[in-house]
């Protein structure tokens, strides 16, 4: 098989696996601080139980994020040697700053955050937790700056085919970066919120953790209900920005082949990249023009205007609908769920079982939307690696035989599938047997310790 296709498939497999875990850890770090703070304020053991349980989820997700991230840092060199040779002056410092400012911060304080209780004061512990949460967010900042620059390059000049930076401010805050960064952080918040609500709902269905699960579920639903309208709004702005800078991506997302005024919004269709047309269209007339240009007769450029330089339509078309569909579903579930929960005062016995089942089913909905969103973004950039300037085909590894890439791809995919199964089943097991993972006596000892630490803190 073509080594380029294999290299792309391998990169896609690795980053897809990797992003599952950052999406959880970025927001979970902050939510853990919230749980801890609630426990210190209220002395309600349920918050401590929630903290301890979700710390374990965090540790597990973090470990998977780290090991798959280490793989990612090798992938640039193994799969795209030409990319670093040509764009290294831009990508290098961004990746470098990520390691220096974010990875070490997270990794350095992780030990204290996870195992430091009783060894350091509550205050130092909070500080360590803050650095870990802050580190994950900073890491997202750098890597998304790089990715956004690859989408909408700015602040550089090209001399003899090599990129040189003219203005770091423009590179960092390139046109799509603010949207992408916000959209991704919100995606992380939503993923985490639905995971919390879902696992807690599962615990309630199984009659577990009667005291902490309703609290966590309430936090999850509240966060979700607050974030999802913002996410939809930001997503819309993101789309408008993309229309301005990457019109062929939008054309593929909307399945528009010919440039037209008053383009219809396709609810369903099967774009056919060979015949360059859509089958089975169900459309709302003029709607796409209205949404994208805020004018019913606005012009949308079609794919045929970009011969040889546009992405495949079908994957974008479907991935985009999966993401947006998930977003709409999230809006519905979080608002209705919050309202239903509030009506019964979040009392575990009175929560509707139907709601609990829906929430449990949505536990990993954030993953689906996030991965779909990234596929839109990344496949939509094809055939370029740096949009409009550098083609993916020109930077791929040419010296590695395709059999070798195929072999390593097979190994990675097998391992990843096994690890995802292990991760989900361990989460399920932990949710069903919280007392196995949170030793009750340890809980009491920690309560005693924290109370002592607090007393000491207020005395000094």
């Amino acid at each position: 098989m073509d080594p380029l296709i294999l290299a792309r498939a391998q990169f896609a497999a690795n980053i897809t696996f990797h992003i599952l875990f950052p999406t959880i850890t970025i927001a979970l770090g902050w939510l853990l601080m919230f749980f801890r703070w609630r426990w210190l304020r209220t002395h309600d053991g349920a918050w401590l139980a929630a903290y301890r349980f979700w710390t374990k989820v965090f540790a597990l997700s973090f470990a998977l994020g780290v090991v798959s991230g280490i793989t990612m840092s090798f992938q640039f060199g193994t799969n795209w040697p030409g990319f670093m040779e040509k764009a290294g002056n831009v990508a290098g410092p961004l990746l470098g700053y990520e390691v220096l400012t974010a990875f070490f911060l997270e990794a350095g304080f992780l030990g204290v955050m996870l195992f430091g209780h009783g060894r350091v004061s509550e205050r130092i512990h909070m500080m360590a937790s803050f650095f870990v949460a802050f580190g994950t967010t900073v890491s997202a900042f750098w890597i998304l700056a790089l990715n956004s620059w690859m989408q909408t390059p700015a602040g550089h000049e090209v001399i003899d085919g090599v990129f040189h930076v003219k203005s770091w401010a423009e590179v960092l805050f390139n046109p799509s970066f603010p949207y992408r960064f916000t959209h991704m952080l919100l995606a992380s918040g939503l993923t985490c919120a639905f995971l919390m609500a879902g696992l807690s709902a599962w615990q309630l269905l199984r009659g577990q953790a009667e005291r902490s699960a309703p609290k966590v579920m309430r936090v999850g639903l509240t966060v979700a209900a607050l974030l999802i309208p913002v996410q939809i709004f930001v997503g819309d702005l993101h789309g408008l920005n993309t229309l301005k800078h990457q019109p062929q991506k939008i054309a593929a997302m909307e399945g528009v082949w010919e440039t037209e005024r008053g383009a219809p919004l396709l609810l369903f269709a099967v774009p056919d990249d060979k015949a360059r047309t859509n089958h089975f269209e169900i459309a709302i007339p003029k709607m796409a023009s209205l949404v994208l240009t805020h004018d019913a007769d606005g012009e949308i450029k079609g794919l045929n205007d970009f011969p040889d330089a546009h992405p495949p339509a079908a994957p974008l078309f479907f991935a985009f609908r999966v993401m947006v569909g998930m977003g709409v579903l999230m809006l519905l579930v979080s608002w209705v769920g919050w309202w239903m929960g509030r009506r019964v005062g979040w009392a575990p016995q009175r929560l509707s079982r139907g709601l609990l089942w829906v929430l449990a089913g949505m536990s990993f909905s954030g993953w689906v939307a996030t991965v779909a969103g990234w596929y839109v973004t990344e496949i939509g950039r094809q055939p370029f690696i740096v949009y409009g300037l550098l083609r993916t085909a020109d930077v791929a590894a040419t010296t590695v035989p395709s059999s070798m890439i195929a072999l390593s791809l097979a190994m990675y995919v097998t391992l990843y599938l096994a690890l995802i199964v292990a991760y989900v089943s361990v989460l399920k097991y932990m949710a069903e047997k919280p007392e196995d993972v949170i030793e009750p006596d340890a809980l009491e000892r920690a309560e005693g310790r924290a109370a002592a630490a607090l007393a000491k803190g207020s005395a000094t």
Binding site: Y51, R52, T55, K56, A59, L60, A63, L64, V67, G69, I70, T71, S73, F74, F76, G77, T78, P81, G82, M84, E85, G88, N89, G92, P93, L95, G96, Y97, L100, T101, F103, F104, L105, A107, G108, F109, L110, G111, V112, L114, F115, G116, H117, R119, V120, H125, V162, H164, W168, T399, V400, M404, S408, M411, L415, A422, V426, Y429, M430, A446
Partner: protein, 331 residues
């Protein structure tokens, strides 16, 4: 040399130091992983507890080392990593297995714990053997011929042995009682293979690479340079002698570990001398491989600010978990 010309040199030094810190720090925790099958069920928990708070930060040094190779020497990064494609993949799979096994084992059903322990060992073995193989391929400049793979295979066996020795020394420092006694025995067992491996490698490196031969075996350099192998030998022998003294179980429990760090540092210095000024021996010099001075300067600013901070909080973290390893609990 102008500042622009010395920039690649600074980054080469940084990369070397990151790799050295990586090999020592992840070395002891890989070594502990390799010792897992020899410990009983409760001892396994202590083994894990002794490295629990550190392994993530340890592996971050690998990310930094590879990061600098990628950022500062993009040409070399492409060349080295495409040459080492398969062993890199195997190492990554090994690191993944052990990283997750480590976390899964405490959260899994009891029946699965043994499986995760086995994976932890297997991952540690796979990672350390592939690292040895890569090191062997790297110092011999990716040469072809029957003797090169043999050489790489020898290092693929020697490096895990060295990690075991380091891991055992770490455990002597971090444990007490019966487990500490066992750790001393493990260290003694691992000592001979390490010595044999080091002697073989020292003899065969000059044989396999003409460049290395020239750099070491010329007068008067050889006299000054003999300090490196001599100090290494003294540290190794001293470590062995200390292992037989009762005091190693008490006040001096840290001594073997420190002596072994010295062995690694001097081994590294020898290696650095053999390779300099190449990034890829006989193929690419530091200056040929470096990226533009402008980009390097931008990173250097970050390095100057963050490396002291990293050092400070690494020390902080080691102090928090100072002393003998106790059971780890999530607070």
């Amino acid at each position: 040399m102008t500042f622009d010309q010395s920039l690649p040199l600074i980054f080469m030094a940084l990369m070397g130091i990151s790799m050295l810190v990586y090999v020592i720090s992840d070395g002891y925790d890989l070594g502990v992983g390799l010792l897992m099958p020899r410990a009983n069920a409760t001892e396994k928990d202590v083994l894990i507890a002794s490295i629990g708070p550190f392994w993530d930060a340890n592996e971050t040094w690998l990310v930094l080392g590879i990061g600098i190779l990628l950022i500062a020497f993009p040409k070399a990064h492409g060349l080295v990593l495409t040459q080492l494609y398969l062993p890199v993949t195997l190492m990554l799979i090994g690191l993944m297995l052990r990283g997750v096994a480590f976390d899964f084992r405490v959260k899994a059903k009891d029946v699965h714990k043994a499986t995760w322990d086995r994976l932890f060992f297997a991952g540690s073995l796979l990672a350390s053997m592939s690292q040895g193989w890569m090191l062997g391929r790297y110092i011999s400049g990716f040469g072809s011929g029957w003797n090169y793979p043999v050489f790489a295979a020898a290092i693929a066996l020697a490096l895990p042995a060295a990690y075991v020795l380091l891991g055992a020394a770490w455990l002597i420092m971090k444990t007490e009682g019966e487990l500490q006694r066992k750790a001393i025995r493990w260290a003694k067992l691992a000592w001979w293979p390490v010595v044999v491996g080091m002697v073989l490698i020292s003899l065969s490196t000059p044989w396999i690479s003409a460049t290395v031969r020239q750099r070491w075996f010329e007068l008067p350099a050889i006299i000054a340079l003999s300090a490196i192998p001599l100090t290494t030998a003294i540290a190794l022998v001293a470590a062995r002698l200390v292992l037989d003294r009762p005091i190693v179980r008490k006040e001096l429990c840290w001594l073997p570990f420190v002596l072994l760090i010295a062995v690694f540092v001097f081994g590294f210095l020898g290696l650095a001398y053999s390779i300099y000024p190449f990034v890829v021996i006989d193929q690419l010099t530091i200056w040929q491989a470096a990226s533009s001075p402008a980009a390097l300067k931008v990173i250097l600013i970050g390095v100057c600010i963050s490396v002291p901070a990293i050092a400070a909080y690494t020390v902080f973290s080691y102090r928090v978990f100072w002393g003998k390893a106790t059971e780890l609990r999530y607070g």
